[in-house]
Symmetry: C2
DNA sequence: TTACATATTGTAAATAATACACTATAAAGC
DNA sequence: GCTTTATAGTGTATTATTTACAATATGTAA
């Protein structure tokens, strides 16, 4: 067993937000693109919206603050899902230098508390700042991207978490859809999250049992084929 | 919104273990009883097995180490379930003083990462040390106990977590039972966790579908009535 | 021998899940 | 206006799962 000399009362705690959106076809995730100036040129990569918490700040509040600061998103229901505390997760010198420059302080080790959120993809995202900008990226392609720290791992765990979570709390899925949606959109979203291909008729049958899903007298517009009926989700007591 | 002056790079991170056991009738939890000497006499309360992590220690490793140090339990499968980071959770002066005395250091604020475990209640627990001792307590009565920090809240969340978790990963429940168990024990455990009263026949029918539960040619002994058959759980591929 | 306590067993009804293929409607191209 | 194309929308039969419900069996103790 390793021997440990010091109790850790001078490490840092951060929050990271794994925010999912749905573009009608595929699941997307909100990432911060960053540019790092280096001796041998510029280095570009992506990271989760996240930062260190303040000394007198609740971690949940911190998650909301950080998400707002980096993306402009406000009042997003964030759910804590896991904390990551491998000492090696901050071992990449590039990440550490960037962070120390950003927070103007020496950072030794960071334990991060990760949150997930499901939001509508058409929400307005903050405009680019000097060296970072927030954007949506297809979750499927994330494995090919350059990601900071252990953020690729955190995203995978976040994805597992929502998959599991939506099995139990089915209504949460509507947070990813526009207020008025078609049953095809809903089905494609189900299938995107659960990586399956569900039967159209059985899906409609099951879904329409839910009294919270109400049929509207409106139809989608601007499609080059028969327009689908719109539905909305209303939470009933 | 509150204004925050300092990034937190000098706070502490702890781990706390919510360890459940089953005594055949009720769900129990492993708590540390502690005695605090004060000017006006002795103060007794209980706390979760937990402590600060070391500076170069993984949080999962820390949870195992701390549980071993405080209870003597080794190789317990611990699952992280939530982190608690309200700055007010360490606002009780008595808790803070006790902790600072224990770790020989000044502590300002602690974010704790909580873990759950399900274990057999007959596992040997470490003998009492000078001012603390680990013991089993009925979960139902925990709300009437004196508990340190926000440990009452953490236990409630831990209980919700295992309830939810056992719905998905049903085999985990066997970690709470002796290797050989009766179907009544299993049913009482189910009911204790889920706060329900299941039908004897339907329960047996459903349970015995599981090929991993195998019927033994042995019966319980020393009961003042018809002895029940024993079963064991074997993980099959 | 009886009282007591818990173990053990089956069936019918209701509900939920699955498999499966054709018609309807709107826009676009000709 | 006719055809093509693309997606919307619909029903039924089969199987699997869940639920409700009560009498007999077997051991100890009085």
């Amino acid at each position: 067993m390793t021997t440990h000399k010091n109790r850790a009362y001078n490490l840092s705690v951060s929050v990271d937000c794994v925010v999912f959106g749905f573009d009608g076809k595929e699941l997307n995730i909100l990432l911060i693109e960053r540019s790092i100036e280096e001796n041998d040129g510029q280095y570009n990569d992506k990271k989760l919206p996240g930062s260190l918490i303040y000394m007198d700040e609740d971690i949940n509040e911190a998650a909301h603050r950080v998400l707002f600061e980096l993306t402009g998103l406000k009042n997003i229901p964030l759910s804590q899902f896991h904390s990551f505390g491998d000492p090696q997760r901050t071992s990449n010198i590039r990440d550490l230098h960037w962070l120390e420059k950003t927070v103007h302080a020496k950072v030794e080790r960071i334990v991060t508390v990760a949150y997930v959120a499901l939001i509508k993809i058409n929400r307005k995202i903050k405009l680019n700042s000097n060296d970072t900008s927030a954007n949506w990226f297809n979750v499927k392609n994330v494995c090919n991207e350059n990601l900071a720290f252990d953020h690729k791992f955190i995203i995978e765990r976040g994805l597992e978490y929502i998959k599991h979570w939506l099995k139990v709390e089915k209504h949460l899925i509507f947070k990813l859809l526009p207020r008025k949606f078609t049953l095809s959109q809903l089905r494609l979203l189900y299938d995107a999250i659960n990586q399956e291909h569900s039967d159209v008729r059985n899906f409609r049958k099951k879904i329409l049992q839910d009294q919270n899903i109400v049929c509207l007298d409106e139809f989608e517009e601007g499609v080059p084929h028969r327009a689908a009926r719109l539905y909305k989700y209303v939470q009933k007591t």
